[in-house]
Protein backbone atom coordinates (compact mmCIF):
# COMPACT_ATOMS: atom_id res chain seq x y z
CA UNK A 1 0.00 0.00 0.00
CA UNK A 2 2.78 2.39 0.91
CA UNK A 3 4.54 1.72 -2.39
CA UNK A 4 1.40 2.47 -4.34
CA UNK A 5 0.87 5.74 -2.49
CA UNK A 6 4.47 6.71 -3.07
CA UNK A 7 4.35 5.89 -6.74
CA UNK A 8 1.26 8.03 -7.18
CA UNK A 9 2.87 10.96 -5.43
CA UNK A 10 6.35 10.81 -6.85
CA UNK A 11 6.04 9.18 -10.23
CA UNK A 12 9.25 8.01 -11.78
CA UNK A 13 11.45 8.42 -8.72
CA UNK A 14 9.28 6.30 -6.49
CA UNK A 15 8.76 3.63 -9.13
CA UNK A 16 12.47 2.97 -8.89
CA UNK A 17 12.08 1.97 -5.25
CA UNK A 18 11.82 -1.81 -4.95
CA UNK A 19 8.51 -3.23 -3.89
CA UNK A 20 8.40 -4.78 -0.50
CA UNK A 21 8.69 -8.53 -0.69
CA UNK A 22 8.19 -11.02 2.15
CA UNK A 23 11.92 -11.87 2.15
CA UNK A 24 13.12 -8.26 2.26
CA UNK A 25 14.57 -7.00 5.49
CA UNK A 26 14.35 -3.35 4.48
CA UNK A 27 11.84 -1.26 2.61
CA UNK A 28 11.68 2.40 1.82
CA UNK A 29 9.29 5.04 0.61
CA UNK A 30 9.42 8.67 -0.42
CA UNK A 31 6.38 10.72 0.39
CA UNK A 32 5.95 14.47 0.84
CA UNK A 33 9.71 14.94 0.79
CA UNK A 34 10.33 12.42 3.56
CA UNK A 35 12.20 9.19 2.88
CA UNK A 36 11.32 6.46 5.37
CA UNK A 37 13.60 3.45 5.67
CA UNK A 38 11.88 0.66 7.60
CA UNK A 39 13.87 -2.24 9.06
CA UNK A 40 11.97 -5.50 9.37
CA UNK A 41 14.30 -8.48 9.46
CA UNK A 42 13.63 -10.97 12.28
CA UNK A 43 14.60 -11.25 15.01
CA UNK A 44 16.00 -7.75 15.49
CA UNK A 45 17.38 -6.45 12.19
CA UNK A 46 20.79 -8.10 12.49
CA UNK A 47 23.20 -6.70 9.91
CA UNK A 48 24.59 -9.52 7.78
CA UNK A 49 25.37 -9.92 4.09
CA UNK A 50 21.73 -9.75 2.92
CA UNK A 51 21.04 -6.66 5.01
CA UNK A 52 24.18 -5.05 3.61
CA UNK A 53 23.09 -5.71 0.02
CA UNK A 54 19.73 -4.13 0.77
CA UNK A 55 21.37 -1.16 2.46
CA UNK A 56 23.49 -0.68 -0.66
CA UNK A 57 20.36 -0.70 -2.80
CA UNK A 58 18.85 1.84 -0.46
CA UNK A 59 22.01 3.97 -0.69
CA UNK A 60 21.67 4.02 -4.47
CA UNK A 61 18.05 5.08 -4.10
CA UNK A 62 19.02 7.74 -1.56
CA UNK A 63 21.63 9.25 -3.87
CA UNK A 64 19.09 9.37 -6.66
CA UNK A 65 16.28 11.05 -4.70
CA UNK A 66 17.98 13.05 -1.96
CA UNK A 67 17.57 16.25 -3.97
CA UNK A 68 13.82 15.70 -3.84
CA UNK A 69 13.63 15.15 -0.09
CA UNK A 70 14.24 17.17 3.05
CA UNK A 71 14.30 14.35 5.61
CA UNK A 72 15.15 10.70 6.06
CA UNK A 73 13.68 8.66 8.91
CA UNK A 74 15.13 5.25 9.79
CA UNK A 75 12.96 3.11 12.04
CA UNK A 76 12.34 -0.53 12.95
CA UNK A 77 9.15 -2.54 12.66
CA UNK A 78 10.54 -5.28 14.90
CA UNK A 79 9.25 -5.47 18.46
CA UNK A 80 12.57 -6.18 20.27
CA UNK A 81 14.15 -3.00 19.01
CA UNK A 82 15.81 -0.85 16.39
CA UNK A 83 18.71 -3.15 15.55
CA UNK A 84 20.76 -5.68 17.50
CA UNK A 85 23.90 -5.02 15.42
CA UNK A 86 26.07 -7.22 13.25
CA UNK A 87 24.89 -10.74 12.48
CA UNK A 88 27.42 -12.53 14.69
CA UNK A 89 26.16 -15.99 13.76
CA UNK A 90 26.80 -15.33 10.07
CA UNK A 91 30.15 -13.74 10.86
CA UNK A 92 31.22 -16.78 12.86
CA UNK A 93 29.89 -19.36 10.40
CA UNK A 94 31.44 -17.66 7.37
CA UNK A 95 34.79 -17.20 9.02
CA UNK A 96 34.81 -20.87 10.07
CA UNK A 97 34.38 -21.96 6.47
CA UNK A 98 37.45 -20.05 5.29
CA UNK A 99 41.16 -19.80 5.92
CA UNK A 100 42.03 -16.96 8.26
CA UNK A 101 43.51 -14.64 5.62
CA UNK A 102 40.43 -15.11 3.46
CA UNK A 103 38.11 -14.52 6.42
CA UNK A 104 39.88 -11.27 7.33
CA UNK A 105 39.70 -10.14 3.72
CA UNK A 106 35.95 -10.87 3.79
CA UNK A 107 35.52 -8.91 7.01
CA UNK A 108 37.43 -5.94 5.59
CA UNK A 109 35.33 -6.00 2.44
CA UNK A 110 32.12 -6.08 4.51
CA UNK A 111 33.31 -3.20 6.70
CA UNK A 112 34.37 -1.05 3.76
CA UNK A 113 31.01 -1.59 2.08
CA UNK A 114 28.95 -0.76 5.16
CA UNK A 115 31.15 2.27 5.86
CA UNK A 116 30.36 3.55 2.36
CA UNK A 117 26.63 3.28 3.08
CA UNK A 118 26.87 4.86 6.54
CA UNK A 119 29.13 7.67 5.29
CA UNK A 120 26.55 8.41 2.63
CA UNK A 121 23.75 8.58 5.19
CA UNK A 122 25.97 10.64 7.52
CA UNK A 123 26.73 13.22 4.82
CA UNK A 124 23.36 13.19 3.00
CA UNK A 125 22.21 16.75 2.24
CA UNK A 126 18.95 16.23 4.08
CA UNK A 127 18.17 15.88 7.76
CA UNK A 128 18.35 12.31 8.95
CA UNK A 129 16.49 10.98 11.97
CA UNK A 130 16.86 7.60 13.68
CA UNK A 131 13.59 6.75 15.43
CA UNK A 132 14.64 4.06 17.87
CA UNK A 133 13.10 1.78 20.45
CA UNK A 134 14.30 -1.24 22.41
CA UNK A 135 17.62 -2.80 21.55
CA UNK A 136 19.93 -0.36 19.74
CA UNK A 137 23.17 -2.27 20.07
CA UNK A 138 26.50 -2.47 18.27
CA UNK A 139 25.99 -1.96 14.55
CA UNK A 140 22.44 -0.79 15.22
CA UNK A 141 23.77 1.93 17.50
CA UNK A 142 26.28 2.80 14.78
CA UNK A 143 23.51 3.10 12.20
CA UNK A 144 21.66 5.49 14.53
CA UNK A 145 24.88 7.46 15.10
CA UNK A 146 25.17 8.11 11.36
CA UNK A 147 21.93 10.09 11.60
CA UNK A 148 21.67 13.77 12.53
CA UNK A 149 19.08 13.25 15.26
CA UNK A 150 18.12 10.30 17.42
CA UNK A 151 14.58 10.21 18.75
CA UNK A 152 14.18 7.42 21.28
CA UNK A 153 11.21 5.88 22.97
CA UNK A 154 11.76 5.50 26.69
CA UNK A 155 12.37 1.75 26.37
CA UNK A 156 15.35 2.22 24.01
CA UNK A 157 18.69 0.87 25.14
CA UNK A 158 22.13 1.63 23.69
CA UNK A 159 25.28 -0.43 23.91
CA UNK A 160 28.62 -1.22 22.34
CA UNK A 161 29.05 -4.86 23.46
CA UNK A 162 31.94 -5.59 21.09
CA UNK A 163 34.76 -5.50 23.64
CA UNK A 164 33.04 -8.33 25.49
CA UNK A 165 33.82 -10.47 22.43
CA UNK A 166 37.37 -9.22 21.98
CA UNK A 167 36.47 -6.74 19.26
CA UNK A 168 35.77 -3.03 18.81
CA UNK A 169 32.75 -1.53 17.06
CA UNK A 170 33.49 -1.76 13.34
CA UNK A 171 30.77 0.26 11.61
CA UNK A 172 32.16 3.69 12.50
CA UNK A 173 30.76 3.94 16.01
CA UNK A 174 33.84 5.12 17.86
CA UNK A 175 34.77 8.03 15.54
CA UNK A 176 31.15 9.15 15.27
CA UNK A 177 30.44 8.98 18.99
CA UNK A 178 33.71 10.83 19.67
CA UNK A 179 32.76 13.47 17.11
CA UNK A 180 29.34 13.95 18.66
CA UNK A 181 29.95 13.52 22.39
CA UNK A 182 33.62 13.36 23.29
CA UNK A 183 36.18 10.88 24.41
CA UNK A 184 34.98 10.17 27.98
CA UNK A 185 31.58 8.93 26.83
CA UNK A 186 33.22 6.70 24.25
CA UNK A 187 35.53 5.27 26.91
CA UNK A 188 32.63 4.53 29.27
CA UNK A 189 30.58 2.76 26.64
CA UNK A 190 33.45 1.05 24.87
CA UNK A 191 35.53 -0.08 27.83
CA UNK A 192 32.68 -1.30 30.07
CA UNK A 193 30.46 -2.72 27.32
CA UNK A 194 27.47 -1.71 29.44
CA UNK A 195 24.16 -0.64 28.04
CA UNK A 196 22.24 2.45 29.07
CA UNK A 197 18.72 3.68 28.62
CA UNK A 198 17.18 6.55 26.67
CA UNK A 199 17.00 8.91 29.64
CA UNK A 200 20.73 8.55 30.24
CA UNK A 201 21.33 8.88 26.50
CA UNK A 202 19.47 12.18 26.51
CA UNK A 203 21.36 13.40 29.59
CA UNK A 204 24.69 12.95 27.83
CA UNK A 205 23.44 14.59 24.62
CA UNK A 206 23.18 11.51 22.43
CA UNK A 207 19.41 11.53 22.07
CA UNK A 208 17.55 14.67 21.12
CA UNK A 209 14.06 13.61 22.23
CA UNK A 210 12.75 10.89 24.55
CA UNK A 211 9.14 9.95 23.91
CA UNK A 212 6.64 7.43 25.26
CA UNK A 213 6.65 3.75 24.30
CA UNK A 214 5.82 3.23 20.63
CA UNK A 215 5.94 6.97 19.87
CA UNK A 216 9.37 7.42 18.29
CA UNK A 217 8.23 7.14 14.66
CA UNK A 218 5.33 9.53 15.20
CA UNK A 219 7.70 12.04 16.85
CA UNK A 220 10.20 11.63 14.00
CA UNK A 221 7.47 12.30 11.44
CA UNK A 222 6.38 15.42 13.35
CA UNK A 223 10.00 16.61 13.35
CA UNK A 224 10.35 15.89 9.63
CA UNK A 225 7.17 17.88 8.95
CA UNK A 226 8.68 20.87 10.80
CA UNK A 227 11.93 20.63 8.80
CA UNK A 228 10.01 20.98 5.56
CA UNK A 229 9.37 24.64 6.41
CA UNK A 230 13.07 25.51 6.20
CA UNK A 231 15.10 26.43 3.14
CA UNK A 232 16.64 23.17 1.97
CA UNK A 233 19.93 24.62 0.73
CA UNK A 234 20.52 26.48 4.01
CA UNK A 235 19.78 23.38 6.07
CA UNK A 236 22.17 21.34 3.93
CA UNK A 237 24.95 23.95 4.29
CA UNK A 238 24.39 24.16 8.06
CA UNK A 239 24.73 20.39 8.33
CA UNK A 240 27.86 20.32 6.19
CA UNK A 241 29.39 23.06 8.37
CA UNK A 242 28.70 21.35 11.71
CA UNK A 243 29.02 17.66 10.87
CA UNK A 244 32.35 16.68 9.33
CA UNK A 245 32.85 13.02 8.45
CA UNK A 246 35.89 11.69 10.37
CA UNK A 247 37.27 9.82 7.34
CA UNK A 248 40.77 9.19 8.70
CA UNK A 249 39.56 7.73 11.99
CA UNK A 250 36.96 5.64 10.19
CA UNK A 251 39.69 4.08 8.04
CA UNK A 252 41.83 3.43 11.10
CA UNK A 253 38.89 1.80 12.82
CA UNK A 254 38.57 -0.71 9.96
CA UNK A 255 42.31 -1.49 10.16
CA UNK A 256 42.16 -2.00 13.92
CA UNK A 257 39.04 -4.15 13.71
CA UNK A 258 40.68 -6.44 11.15
CA UNK A 259 43.86 -6.64 13.21
CA UNK A 260 41.87 -7.65 16.31
CA UNK A 261 39.67 -10.05 14.37
CA UNK A 262 42.73 -12.17 13.54
CA UNK A 263 43.28 -13.08 17.20
CA UNK A 264 42.19 -16.52 18.52
CA UNK A 265 40.34 -14.88 21.46
CA UNK A 266 37.77 -13.48 19.04
CA UNK A 267 36.99 -16.84 17.50
CA UNK A 268 36.61 -18.34 20.97
CA UNK A 269 34.33 -15.52 22.12
CA UNK A 270 32.18 -15.69 19.01
CA UNK A 271 31.90 -19.47 19.31
CA UNK A 272 30.72 -19.25 22.92
CA UNK A 273 28.21 -16.56 21.99
CA UNK A 274 26.84 -18.43 18.97
CA UNK A 275 26.66 -21.79 20.70
CA UNK A 276 25.10 -20.46 23.92
CA UNK A 277 21.54 -21.62 24.54
CA UNK A 278 21.14 -19.80 27.86
CA UNK A 279 18.43 -17.21 28.34
CA UNK A 280 21.30 -14.82 28.94
CA UNK A 281 23.70 -15.46 26.04
CA UNK A 282 27.41 -15.73 26.69
CA UNK A 283 28.85 -12.29 27.25
CA UNK A 284 31.69 -11.95 29.76
Amino acid sequence: MRDVETTKQHGEIAEKAPNRSPEAGLSWTLKDGVIELGLHRAPCNELGSEALEELEQFATFLQRVQGEAHALIIYSEMKPGFCAGADLRELYQRSQAMKQAEAIKGVRDFLERIHRVLNLIDAAPLTTIAAVHGVTFGGGFELALACDLIIADKMARFCFPELRLGLIPGFGGIPRLKRDLGNSVVRDLLLTGRSFNAVKAQQIGLVSQVVGEGESLRAARATAAQLKKFDRATAAEAKKFIKPIPHEELKREIDLFCELFARPAVEAGLRKFVESTDAQPYLP
Partner: protein, 80 residues
Amino acid sequence: MSTSDQTLDEILNLAAAHFKVPREKLSPDDDFFKTLGIDSLQTLDLLTKLENYFRVELPDYELQGVSDFRTLAGRIQARL
Protein backbone atom coordinates in the same frame (compact mmCIF):
# COMPACT_ATOMS: atom_id res chain seq x y z
CA MET B 1 7.33 -3.16 55.34
CA SER B 2 11.07 -2.38 55.16
CA THR B 3 12.48 -0.32 52.30
CA SER B 4 14.03 -3.47 50.80
CA ASP B 5 10.75 -5.34 50.99
CA GLN B 6 8.98 -2.41 49.38
CA THR B 7 11.50 -2.35 46.53
CA LEU B 8 11.01 -6.08 46.04
CA ASP B 9 7.24 -5.69 46.06
CA GLU B 10 7.39 -2.89 43.50
CA ILE B 11 9.63 -5.00 41.23
CA LEU B 12 7.17 -7.89 41.40
CA ASN B 13 4.29 -5.54 40.57
CA LEU B 14 6.17 -4.02 37.64
CA ALA B 15 7.23 -7.40 36.25
CA ALA B 16 3.68 -8.75 36.53
CA ALA B 17 2.22 -5.73 34.76
CA HIS B 18 4.88 -5.53 32.03
CA PHE B 19 4.85 -9.22 31.13
CA LYS B 20 1.13 -9.66 31.83
CA VAL B 21 1.57 -12.35 34.45
CA PRO B 22 -0.80 -12.56 37.45
CA ARG B 23 0.97 -10.92 40.40
CA GLU B 24 0.09 -13.81 42.74
CA LYS B 25 2.12 -16.18 40.54
CA LEU B 26 5.35 -14.30 41.26
CA SER B 27 7.46 -14.96 44.36
CA PRO B 28 10.67 -13.22 45.51
CA ASP B 29 12.87 -16.27 45.00
CA ASP B 30 11.48 -17.28 41.61
CA ASP B 31 13.82 -17.65 38.66
CA PHE B 32 12.37 -14.80 36.63
CA PHE B 33 13.59 -16.23 33.33
CA LYS B 34 11.40 -19.28 33.97
CA THR B 35 8.46 -17.67 35.76
CA LEU B 36 8.10 -14.86 33.25
CA GLY B 37 9.23 -17.01 30.30
CA ILE B 38 11.55 -14.29 29.05
CA ASP B 39 14.71 -14.27 26.94
CA SER B 40 17.73 -11.99 27.11
CA LEU B 41 16.14 -9.23 25.02
CA GLN B 42 13.06 -9.18 27.23
CA THR B 43 15.32 -9.08 30.27
CA LEU B 44 16.74 -5.84 28.90
CA ASP B 45 13.17 -4.55 28.69
CA LEU B 46 12.68 -5.40 32.35
CA LEU B 47 15.94 -3.67 33.23
CA THR B 48 14.90 -0.52 31.38
CA LYS B 49 11.47 -0.57 33.01
CA LEU B 50 13.06 -0.87 36.46
CA GLU B 51 15.62 1.86 35.77
CA ASN B 52 12.91 4.23 34.58
CA TYR B 53 10.67 3.45 37.55
CA PHE B 54 13.31 3.69 40.28
CA ARG B 55 15.28 6.40 38.44
CA VAL B 56 18.55 4.52 38.84
CA GLU B 57 21.24 3.30 36.47
CA LEU B 58 21.98 -0.37 36.75
CA PRO B 59 24.83 -1.58 34.53
CA ASP B 60 23.77 -4.84 32.94
CA TYR B 61 26.96 -6.59 34.03
CA GLU B 62 25.72 -6.24 37.61
CA LEU B 63 22.86 -8.52 36.61
CA GLN B 64 25.05 -11.23 35.11
CA GLY B 65 24.10 -14.42 36.89
CA VAL B 66 21.15 -12.80 38.69
CA SER B 67 17.96 -14.71 38.05
CA ASP B 68 15.73 -14.16 41.09
CA PHE B 69 13.69 -11.13 42.08
CA ARG B 70 15.16 -10.87 45.59
CA THR B 71 18.75 -10.49 44.38
CA LEU B 72 17.59 -8.10 41.68
CA ALA B 73 15.89 -5.97 44.36
CA GLY B 74 19.13 -5.94 46.34
CA ARG B 75 21.06 -4.64 43.33
CA ILE B 76 18.54 -1.86 42.81
CA GLN B 77 18.33 -1.01 46.50
CA ALA B 78 22.11 -0.52 46.52
CA ARG B 79 21.72 2.29 43.98
CA LEU B 80 18.75 4.12 45.51
